[in-house]
């Protein structure tokens, strides 16, 4: 084994940011699932809310992207 302890921590941190991806997946799935549940109850109102759906998904997904950004910063910028 070679390398230093700093690099070890760096890689562990990068790996941990993968949790962020999973969390974002939960969030996006939650948004889409609730939208579908609501849409099936009242299909006539669903068409008008697709924009809201996308906004909600974008917000949920942005946080996952932030974890990816943290990973990139750890890998390349630290």
């Amino acid at each position: 084994m070679e390398g230093n302890i700093g690099e070890l921590g760096q890689y562990i941190g990068v790996g941990l940011t993968a949790f962020g991806m999973g969390m974002a997946a939960l969030g996006v799935g939650n948004v889409a699932g609730n939208f579908l549940a609501g849409a099936l109850r009242n299909p006539s109102a669903a068409a008008g809310q697709t924009a809201t759906l996308f906004i909600g998904m974008a917000f949920a997904e942005a946080l996952g992207i932030f974890s990816f950004l943290v990973a990139l910063l750890l890998m390349f910028a630290v």
Binding site: L72, M75, A77
Partner: protein, 211 residues
């Protein structure tokens, strides 16, 4: 490209180290070393995330602004008015077509109404003609019946007069026969029979019979 830069940087770093170790470097060598340090700095930054390489930001932003301005001008001056006019033309065409269709529908309805009216008129006319004909025929029929009745009546009257005449003549004949017979009978039985007495007796007997 990237690996080339890195290679250059690595060599440059080596050169720098060499320059520091070897004290009696020439002016040219020092220059090269200085250049190498610069190159090394550039390459180290590039070795990180390319997105975080601040040295290229000015370039990207400049060209982005140029692109956006050009795109904005072209789209807002040429493309958008054109698409808007096409869309409004289409909307106009659709509205016009719909109005024309409405007009045609109205016309069709009018034509239907006219047809219905013509049909009703024709039917009414036919009815009047039928009624007229029927009345005419009835009148003719009535006339014919009346004529026939009159004729029948006339003939009946004629027949009756003839019958009456026949009957009268028959009465008279019967009386003559009876007078002759009576006169003969009276003569046969040896009686004296003058015509006036026999006639009076016959008239008296026949009063009830003839009636």
């Amino acid at each position: 490209m990237f690996s080339l830069l890195q290679e250059a940087a690595t060599t440059a770093v080596e050169t720098t180290e060499g320059a520091i170790v070897i004290d009696d470097a020439t002016a040219h060598g020092a220059d090269a070393a200085a250049h190498g340090v610069e190159g090394a700095g550039y390459a180290t930054e590039a070795a990180g995330l390319p997105q975080l390489d601040i040295t290229t930001f000015g370039n990207q932003i400049f060209w982005l602004v140029v692109t956006l301005v050009v795109l904005y001008l072209v789209l807002s001056r040429v493309a958008l008015p054109r698409i808007a006019s096409v869309l409004s033309d289409r909307q106009g065409a659709i509205t016009g077509d719909l109005m024309a269709a409405e007009e045609f529908k109205l016309k069709a309805r009018e034509a239907e109404a006219a047809y219905d009216k013509a049909l009703a008129d024709a039917r009414a006319q036919a009815q009047t003609i039928v009624a007229q004909n029927r009345a005419q025929i009835q009148a003719q029929l009535d006339e014919a019946i009346a004529k026939a009745d009159a004729e029948i009546a006339a003939r009946t009257a004629e027949s009756e007069t003839r019958i009456r005449a026949v009957r009268a003549s028959a009465d008279v004949s019967a009386r003559d026969v009876a007078q002759d017979v009576t006169a003969e009978l009276v003569r046969t039985f040896g009686g004296q029979a003058d015509d006036a007495t026999v006639g009076a007796a016959l008239d008296g007997r026949m009063k009830g019979a003839v009636q």
